[in-house]
Symmetry: C2
């Protein structure tokens, strides 16, 4: 087991109608709140009104920055930074999913920095401080509600890059599973894939003595898999929505990664795809992960066989571990397909035109991944396997 430091201070408030507490949780940090969200969906569902009412009841002055897109853009982040500085904002309240939260995090860090915020994403500067961030989560997927990371897209060259810092962890996150009832099936499935990918990135490690976290990862994966079809077929099933929502947070709160070095190569490859194509992150991961698995599984047959056995109930064939491993990969791919995800680039209408460019750009700051180090040609081979 690797040495580690683990601290996750986000206050999680989970359950029915908990968005009504957003005012009292926010006012702790001050009276000027930037309400940050995407488009009209939170207005359609009435969530916007409930949040605003709760904030106003606490005498909070609300400023708004709307229009966050999936794969959130640095241009809007820059707008948010200017607004926060001008209005002396005390707290950024992200109401939405991972894109909105990530955008809020980048704004929060940028406010405390004199240079351009993109410096954090291309390695020219490191985050040291942040405005406080609060969250009302509407999409269980990214785990950004308690993570210390953010991923932002720069339209100037379509770079999608990440950065992180402990101060970026939201101070509080409100999780009401009922808010996810209205999510379209496709978006629900993208979220399920994203949270599974967060666990898989941690699961595939070269660290040998990681039994507790292996088993915790397997527990979360099995729960997600076991509830996925239920939420797709019965979108207002509270219990299943709650399992998925809580799993999405646990998948990425860093506990499951303690003592181990995760991989993250598949995430980086996916960022190249969705940096160019504006495909949903979850859909991109459903395409990349099976291809990545097929490319690397021989590196540690035991781990892939354990995965097949403990997550997918594949019987271990001790005389043919490769067969066991491959069955696990097959089941992973079939599962993503079964929940409506594409598992090939072509299914997402992505051809081979830009594969070489993605492989080159993705590795220009060095090889990707840790389980197996992926150089430019490795990434290209994985992308070709994903065609």
């Amino acid at each position: 087991m690797q040495d580690f430091v683990f601290q996750n201070s986000t206050k999680l408030i989970f359950g029915k109608e908990k968005e009504q507490l957003v005012g009292q949780e926010s006012v702790v940090f001050g009276k000027k709140v930037l309400l940050h969200y995407g488009g009209g969906s939170i207005k359609k569902t009435g969530l916007y009104d409930r949040v605003v009412q709760s904030l106003l009841e606490q005498g909070i002055e609300i400023f708004e920055l709307t229009g966050v897109q999936p794969n959130p853009r640095v241009s809007l982040v820059r707008e948010g930074i200017a607004l926060c500085k001008e209005k002396s904002i005390d707290l950024i309240l992200a109401v939405g999913g991972g894109s909105v939260i990530d955008s809020a995090k980048a704004i929060a860090a940028g406010v405390k920095y004199d240079g351009d915020v993109w410096d954090f994403f291309d390695g020219k500067a490191e985050v040291t401080d942040c405005l406080p961030i609060g969250v009302v989560l509407t999409i269980p997927a990214a785990g950004s509600e308690t993570s210390e990371g953010t991923v932002i897209t720069n339209g100037d060259g379509w770079y999608k890059r990440s950065t992180g810092h402990p101060t970026m962890r939201p101070k509080f996150a409100i999780l009401n599973p009922i808010l996810t009832y209205t999510l379209p099936a496709y978006q629900t499935a993208c979220g399920i894939t994203d949270m599974m990918a967060h666990i898989l990135e941690r699961y595939f490690t070269n660290e040998k003595s990681v039994e507790l976290t292996d088993r915790l990862c397997e527990a979360a994966l099995r729960t997600i898999i076991n509830n996925a079809h239920t939420v797709l077929e019965d979108p207002t099933n509270y219990d299943a929505r709650a399992e998925i929502m809580w799993s999405g947070t646990i998948a990425h709160n860093d506990l499951l990664g303690t003592g181990r070095i995760g991989d993250w190569g598949s995430h980086d490859i996916e960022h190249e795809i969705s940096g160019i194509y504006d495909i949903a992150h979850g859909a991109g991961l459903a395409i990349v992960f099976p291809a990545w698995m097929k490319y690397v599984y021989k590196h540690d047959l035991n781990r892939f066989a354990q995965f097949a056995n403990r997550v997918w109930d594949v019987e271990i064939d001790l005389n043919n571990l490769e067969k066991t491993a491959l069955k696990g990969i097959e089941k992973t791919e079939a599962f993503f397909h079964s929940i409506g995800m594409p598992v090939r680039l072509t299914e997402a209408n992505i051809g081979e035109e830009h594969l070489e460019q993605m492989a080159k750009k993705g590795t220009e700051r060095g090889p990707l991944g840790n389980f197996v180090k992926l150089h430019e040609n490795d990434v290209l081979q994985i992308l070709k396997l994903a065609l």
Copy 2:
């Protein structure tokens, strides 16, 4: 799933030689530290010297309060409160196991309260604030290093009572598995039983939709069971010690209890035993838990069968769930025995003299437990089953 709030901010620093960071972690809270510990074992192992040196390097003034006993006493807590007030202590540093940490927590709360500290334990007052607490953990067992609770014994009538508050969570906890190499086998086994009991108390719930936390509980239980004999037979096995140590923290950091109402009847019954007999808490739990299970299992055969299957690999006999359930209980009891724990009161030289008194005292503030509510006669029957 029940609604819940979850926040655990303790900074966990895990790994080899990490006690050398204690000075820099402590000085954040001030320059006056109360070093709180038990007896001479930390001096024998050299840990005391390393901690003192690290504190002195940060210019910290050290005050000492030693002599914490297993089942820590309110008398020493009162002494600590007086000392902290007199010396204007900034941080209480607990170096030891659960007893030392619990004693530190009670002192920390008492310093901020004008009345007698026992008021917190017999329900006359509630904790509202605390001095900061730091921990260097030497015994993985109680999980007190990140929990918000404390259990203190009052020699005046041998009451053992608990209280808790979020501010009681230690600010940091340093976990170096190597520090546990020198633990006697019996103490190691008591710790293993205690952490398993913390999970079992959460596991046996009447809440139906708790799949994620069920599976997380099972993951932690399997890990503990799988590493228990290794640490007993090979006490300097770093990897196994690390699995046990991290499991002990996860068992009681409240994550595994999110969305569910735990039982805690067995803990309360054990407190009556160790309030009178000064038996190790873990040993008391090894005696009470199997008896409790035998008394209540019919209340939810499905849950006990799931436990038998997922934790102990007992095949589910759908035509005889009771048989499956009983096999799980049998395996639990056999496991405790196999690691050197008593599983009967008589094995711990406790006879039937005080059973009625314990049952009466234990229930004088109301019935115990939640899975099944235990009244005086129920507790007596469980104690008799434990004979």
